[in-house]
Symmetry: C2
Subunit: 148 residues, 2 copies
Amino acid sequence: MQNSDAMALSAALLAVAGELTQRIHDGVVARGFEGLRPAHGFAFSRLAPDGATVTELAAHLGVTKQAASQLVDEIVRKGYAERRPHPGDARARLVVLTERGWACTRAAEEAAAEAVRRWAEVLGEGEVRALWGNLGQIAPGGPIRPAW
Amino acid sequence: MQNSDAMALSAALLAVAGELTQRIHDGVVARGFEGLRPAHGFAFSRLAPDGATVTELAAHLGVTKQAASQLVDEIVRKGYAERRPHPGDARARLVVLTERGWACTRAAEEAAAEAVRRWAEVLGEGEVRALWGNLGQIAPGGPIRPAW
DNA sequence: CTGAATGGTCAACCCGCTTGACCATAAACC
DNA sequence: GGTTTATGGTCAAGCGGGTTGACCATTCAG
């Protein structure tokens, strides 16, 4: 495999990633959730299970805790999450999704499913599963950083 | 395929895209090209064949022409490209890569190849080619936008 | 030849993120 | 127990890359 092939593969991957992000974002907006940026989705995915502290969120997103704090301010102000006292650590505050936050998360899932369905139309369901499997194996575990 | 599966696939794709971008960027820096951001790579890829005007570059990157103009200023100042009069249109100026710009592009290709090689170690060469083929089919043709 | 359209730049502003300082609570240590 | 160090969080100021708006030069359409 030549270097130029690797570049072509990279370009395709990044193009798909960019378009996917756009489609999910558009889909979320179309379902009535406004004032959000794609980065918020990654925050939601970290908050979803059991909530998280600002510091944990910052690590997940790969930004400073100040930036994460601002982001939390924003989604709290817009009604997607709320801050609660942290059980067992009076310094920390647990950020959890509100019902509206959950609804938005479900909307994002629907939008993602729509985008993936388009791929299945082109590749077939089997290839999409193969894609999933392959990507899952090479996906890193670290913080989710903006692609560029 | 369930919505949550689509979300898992999306998350994996975006994680891989983010890591790939980081690795290419790191590799370029390691080869001695500093002061560049990932976005510059996408500009280079558009300039590479025969150069481009600021407006074409703006369309390719999905930003305003003012932003593209600033970006060109930067890579010109750092010696990666130069502005030339456009043959056949006195308003336009053709932005072309310098030799250093070409060297940087080759460095990026090497870094991409390194990253892809890691995938091949996990998936095998055949699956990587399959990945390439599948991504190539679903990749959009439009402007390359930052993932988020 | 005139008026609209296009390529490009300059200027002001916005917004998200960073660095640096600081307070409150927790954990570590004598 | 009391002091020191580390950790969670916020406030404030500044930076950097982007946007909008205005403008000039050249080209194209009538």
